[in-house]
């Protein structure tokens, strides 16, 4: 018995396949792009060592935040924060409502071919511009929170419409066929067949852009569109690091709280 096992020929392992030329090309391409990019921005980590004393000085100031800014409810920080929250809420609401209509117009399930092609390509142009650019253009018309609201609204329409249109593309065609057979108009078809199917997805996209908006409206103020961002630039230009640190602490807490809240809600929607 033992003899038989020993005499059995060794199984031949299949040869290891050579790495695919595409993989090799891809890796080489990534390396070349990285080298070119590094050269283009003068990549160097030397300043980390050279400028370390300057950074530690700033970090020491940051480590002693101006608590008064946080504890006093009438401080600049709280006014700016209320403004940021209002901007985010309004932009999310208006942007999401417009986006629902745009999404219905940009899916081949709910719109005629001529319309959905035009809407779809228009939306990809709107999305290709960062929110900051909208804010810069709108700030030229009027300053204050209004350009911030409009910039975030434009940005939200882009994101929510794209995600919702993808949900509409993926709806179950069964109810739609039933409605078509019963002679529903295009609007009745959308109202009774599509919206009920996409509502959970749509609601979770709205919460997701609300999260993004809180972060973005922090940033938008940097170009003068109101809110906490304006305060950050003010303290940065004055090199008032203790107050800047107070702002950072509050933003951090607010962003984490809203993320947790919205993640909890989104989990329930699924």
């Amino acid at each position: 018995m033992t003899q038989a096992i020993l005499e059995r020929p060794k199984p031949v392992r299949p040869p290891k396949p050579p790495p695919s030329p595409l993989l090799v090309g891809g890796v080489l391409g990534a390396v070349v792009v990285t080298m070119v990019a590094g050269w283009a921005i003068d990549f160097s980590l030397a300043p980390v060592v050279e400028q370390w004393p300057a950074l530690t000085m700033i970090l020491q100031e940051v480590a002693h935040p101006e608590w008064e800014e946080i504890t006093d409810p009438s401080s600049r920080l709280w006014t700016a924060l209320r403004e940021t929250a209002a901007i985010a809420v309004i932009a999310t609401f208006v942007g999401s409502l417009i986006a629902l209509g745009v999404a219905l117009l940009s899916s081949k399930v709910s719109a005629p071919p001529a319309i959905y092609r035009v809407t779809k390509s228009g939306m990809s142009v709107i999305r290709s511009l960062p929110d900051m650019v909208y804010a810069l253009v709108f700030v030229a018309v009027v300053t204050g929170p209004l350009p911030g609201i409009l910039a975030l609204t434009a940005f939200n329409v882009g994101i929510v419409a794209k995600l919702t249109a993808e949900s509409i593309d993926a709806t179950d065609p069964g109810p739609l066929e039933a409605l078509d057979a019963a002679g529903a108009t295009r609007w009745q078809r959308a109202r009774a067949g599509i919206i009920p199917q996409i509502l959970p997805g749509y609601a979770s996209y709205v919460l997701y852009v609300f999260e993004l908006n809180i972060r973005a409206s922090v940033v938008l103020g940097a170009v003068g569109a109101g809110g906490v961002g304006q305060l950050i630039m003010l303290y940065f230009n004055r090199a008032d690091y203790p107050r800047l640190a107070a702002v950072v602490i509050v933003i951090f807490v607010v962003v984490v709280a809203i993320d947790l809240l919205s993640q909890g809600l989104r989990r329930r929607l699924r």
Partner: protein
């Protein structure tokens, strides 16, 4: 009771939807009312003015590049110079977004293994996860202003580092979710064959994980290109700084050219990256059908 009178089920109540709708509208109105300096009266001005700016921008884009713009102090300046300058700066933006993404990928990949419940003990998991969440919560612009600008000065390295550090958080979170959701059977197989912890990760975890993770790196690169525009406003490199200056100076023709370059380059990079991601995730056959 006659069999013909089958009862229709009661339609579900509508009031919960109405209540949520009314509450939302109430919150929005409250928010609108709390903004005392919003100048809502200016709202009707926007369509007209924005259209006017847009038409001036379009003029700039459609003007022959050899022509000289009026109102500029330099008589040799042409529209073509503006195009070249915008392209060079946009190139810088793309380069710093790429380097930032590389930094994020490089650090997030090993860290994610220390944060996944299948590969690390809890005393490592907890601090690494907290670290990921913490850096995700700080917007890039704050990181740039407080840490990177003092270190690197007003140049693209500051932007690349700010984007890189921020990306560690989001890439790390996604990579660790990928690690936790892999098929456990290959891992069990190599464990049964006596693999060490490192061999297990090398032969059973990483091969499963790599396609989706690399695809997400590319997606993050697309996001980072947009983020780099914001960092330009605090002069952390890229096209943002000049765009900020030009649009604030209401040089709409010049701004239009810069926006055109941003749109074209962003869409091109998005398309390229989407094609590569599709090839990575779905293989050659699917690509052939798709193309």
């Amino acid at each position: 009771m006659s069999p013909g009178a089958a009862k229709r089920p009661e339609p579900p109540p509508k009031w919960p939807y109405t209540a949520v709708g009314v509450a939302l509208v109430g919150i929005v109105l409250l928010a609108g009312w709390s903004l005392d300096d919003a100048r809502w009266g200016r709202l009707p001005l926007f369509p007209g003015e924005v259209l006017q700016y847009a038409s001036q921008m379009l003029d700039g884009v459609l003007t022959w590049p050899g022509a000289h713009p009026d109102g500029q102090s330099d008589p040799d300046l042409t529209y073509g110079d503006w195009w070249l300058q915008a392209l060079r700066l946009m190139g810088e933006s793309v380069a710093l977004a790429w380097i930032g993404t590389c930094i994020g990928a490089l650090f997030s990949f090993p860290l994610a293994f220390l944060a996944a419940s299948t590969t690390a003990p809890w005393f490592l998991r907890l601090p690494v996860r907290t670290f990921f969440n913490a850096i995700r919560a700080v917007p890039e612009i704050l990181l740039a202003v407080i840490v990177m600008l003092p270190l690197f000065g007003l140049n693209p390295m500051a932007g690349a580092m700010a984007i890189g550090i921020h990306s560690i958080g989001s890439l790390g979170k996604l990579t660790l979710e990928n690690i936790e959701s892999i098929d456990p059977r290959p891992v069990e197989a190599v464990t049964a064959a006596g693999a060490t912890r490192w061999q297990r990760i090398r032969t059973a975890v990483i091969p499963q994980l790599l396609p989706e993770t690399v695809a997400f790196w590319l997606y993050r690169f697309e996001v980072n290109i947009r983020a780099s525009a914001i960092l330009g406003v605090v002069s952390a490199g890229g096209i943002g700084a000049l765009l900020n200056r030009v649009l604030r100076g209401r040089e709409w023709e010049w701004g239009g050219i810069m926006l055109a370059v941003i749109i074209i380059v962003t869409i091109l990079v998005d398309q390229l990256s989407a094609a590569v991601r599709h090839r990575i995730l779905h293989g050659a056959e699917a690509t052939a059908v798709w193309a």
